[in-house]
């Protein structure tokens, strides 16, 4: 066989003689180069249908934002109700002549009950101060100190050590039977009701979070749609690549990269928007209502979790799309 004249300085590169095998670089290095190339191709895929990609990212962001808000705002109601539940108490007004050692004995007896959380003694002065705090400031200031009632008492907080609702009726009946007790002031709302309400709110929050999660899951189909569109636009290219030796993995990788990038972008944007809204609401709630919202997770974990969730949604979308439509 005649060999061609070897090109000299003028010819760039050197394709030279044909070898029987295509020259292959070391496996690790080749894989790294392929990965870099596929990453570029994946990013390129984002630009094929920018409108659709934007719609997909936006829908993911909205869904994630809703998940964050549902989770966060639900905690306000739960907190408020739990706080109210924990603060529900019965006040036992003691007869004036009850001595302190008898008071201590009484407190010990009451504390021994499983449905009692805490027991606190208030002197007549402390009770008066508390009553004054309940009155409007102007009124409290205008009244002479002796006009505001005050009586030494024991404040009994309901507990739920057993995990169940406290037996308010039973506890009240027990307290009423104690000899040195003057009056038992029952709570305006039973702790059991408060805790039941808290449980309902907790359930509501869970239900809303599940709904938001489902919404997030449904956005997978936006990812699938976008990737399907990309595959349709690149069908010829993929067929050509197949004919010249591209593996399935080589064809799928850019689509996975595209899906994961879309998912991560959307979920991260939604999470950041959610945190921003919660933070803005927090400052208002703290000023106006003295409550604050807890985020479903700590803020430090939010970004990695959002990226992970986004990558999961995008990856799942890419898996569905490539399983069904890869040329």
């Amino acid at each position: 066989m005649d060999g061609p004249q070897k090109p000299s300085d003028e010819r760039p590169g050197a394709s030279g003689e044909h070898s029987t095998q295509p020259m292959s670089p070391p496996r690790g290095l080749a894989a790294a180069r392929k990965a870099a190339h596929l990453l570029t191709e994946g990013v390129r895929g984002l630009l094929i249908s920018p409108g659709q990609v934007l719609a997909c990212v936006s829908s993911l962001a909205v869904a994630t934002c809703l998940v964050t808000l549902f989770g966060s705002f639900g905690s306000v109601a739960v907190d408020a109700l739990e706080r109210a539940g924990n603060r529900a108490h019965v006040i036992i007004y003691l007869k004036e002549q009850v001595p302190s050692d008898r008071v201590n004995e009484l407190m010990k007896t009451i504390r021994g009950r499983p449905d009692v959380n805490d027991v606190r003694y208030l002197s007549a002065g402390e009770d008066r101060a508390r009553n004054a705090a309940l009155l409007p400031r102007d009124l409290a200031a205008s009244l002479p100190p002796g006009e505001i009632p005050g009586q030494h008492c024991i404040e009994v907080g309901f507990g739920d050590a057993s995990g169940g609702a406290p037996d308010v009726v039973g506890l009240t009946a027990f307290l009423k039977k104690i000899e040195d007790v003057d009056v038992v002031a029952e709570p305006p709302v039973g702790a059991a009701r408060i805790r039941a309400a808290a449980a309902a709110v907790r359930f509501g929050r869970l239900a809303l979070s599940l709904l938001a999660g489902l919404l997030l899951l449904s956005t997978i189909f936006f990812v699938v749609g976008t990737l399907t569109r990309t595959m349709e636009r690149r069908r010829d290219e993929m067929n050509i690549l197949r004919l010249i030796g591209a593996t399935d993995a080589f064809l799928k990788a850019p689509l996975y990269i595209q899906g994961i990038a879309q998912g991560a972008l959307g979920v991260l944007a939604g999470a950041i928007a959610g945190v921003f809204i919660v933070s803005a609401a927090n400052s208002w709630l703290a000023t106006e209502l003295a409550v604050s919202i807890r985020l479903p997770t700590g803020q430090g974990l939010l970004v990695p979790l959002a990226l992970l969730a986004g990558a999961g949604v995008g990856g799942l979308g890419a898996f569905i799309a490539t399983s069904r439509r890869l040329p």
């Binding site: 066989m1 005649d2 060999g3 061609p4 004249q5 070897k6 090109p7 000299s8 003028e10 010819r11 760039p12 590169g13 050197a14 394709s15 030279g16 003689e17 044909h18 070898s19 029987t20 095998q21 295509p22 020259m23 292959s24 670089p25 290095l29 080749a30 894989a31 180069r33 392929k34 190339h37 010829d236 290219e237 067929n239 050509i240 690549l241 197949r242 004919l243 010249i244 030796g245 591209a246 593996t247 399935d248 080589f250």
Partner: protein, 256 residues
């Protein structure tokens, strides 16, 4: 070891049509073979079988000693990396420039940027399309597009080139140019199997010719005086032949 061994190959489609009927022949490394015959003779089917786009119903096809019947699906891409394929309709990526079209297969091999650049520039230079590196296929003539398609195959440095009617859409001048390009590739050591029904082209550039009709191998014609494969028998149609010029450039008319 032959580049291609075809042994009693039958291709039968589900509707009962037999596209190939007991085909048997070999193609040696460095050999240039025409696959000729009228439409429906089975030329394209055979190329599809060699690329393992389809499976033979019966018989054996060995490419570089590997039996395609026993080849797992996951191994097909690695077989194809040794085969350069060129189509009548060029099959170029319309949204990629000439450089990227030629480089596309090299990324599959995981070559470095420098190596890709070096190979692509070398191939473009050889084919005389280096000045079109940044141009897109729609901006090129049919002949130039086919050169790009040849470049894509050449850049992979395949040991076997399959060309399915590569001159089907081209006029005589361009067709001659393409065959000369294949001759140059052939002289570099690649076996070439080119499907064509262009009788004039075969006469102008005589090579071993496998004549098919209705799936049967009718004749295995060897040109007079052409002994061994890969001799790069030059065409007589223009009297100039294809050659690498002083600069190493492949040119249709001998110099660029």
């Amino acid at each position: 070891m032959p580049a291609v061994e075809i042994d009693s190959v039958v291709k039968r489609y589900p509707n009962g049509t037999e596209a190939l009927n007991g085909l048997t022949f070999n193609v040696e490394p460095g050999e240039f073979v025409y696959l000729s015959g009228p439409s429906g003779a089975g030329k394209t089917t055979l190329i599809k079988l060699l690329l393992r786009m389809e499976k033979a119903s019966d018989g054996d096809i060995l490419v570089f000693g590997k039996n395609l019947k026993a080849l797992r699906r996951s191994s097909i891409p690695f077989l194809r990396r040794n085969i350069g394929v060129i189509f009548q309709d060029f099959r170029l990526l319309q949204d990629r420039n000439v450089f990227d079209n030629i480089a596309v297969g090299l990324h599959i091999l995981g070559l470095s940027r420098r190596e890709v650049k070096s190979r692509v520039e070398g191939v473009m230079f050889d084919l005389g399309i280096d000045r079109y590196a940044g141009a897109y296929p729609p901006m090129l003539s049919g002949g130039e597009q086919q050169r790009v398609a040849v470049g894509r195959a050449l850049a992979m440095q395949p040991a076997l080139i399959l060309a399915d009617e590569p001159t089907g859409n081209l006029d005589w001048e361009l067709s001659s140019e393409i065959v000369r390009l294949f001759e140059s590739l052939n002289r570099r050591g690649a076996a070439v199997l080119m499907a064509t029904h262009d009788r004039f082209l075969i006469e102008a550039f005589p090579k071993r010719t496998l004549l098919l009709n209705k799936g049967f191998l009718i004749e295995d014609l060897k040109p007079q005086g052409a002994g061994t494969a890969g001799t790069g028998t030059t065409g007589t149609g223009t009297g100039t032949g294809t050659d690498l010029g002083e600069s190493g450039r492949i040119s249709a008319d001998g110099d660029d």
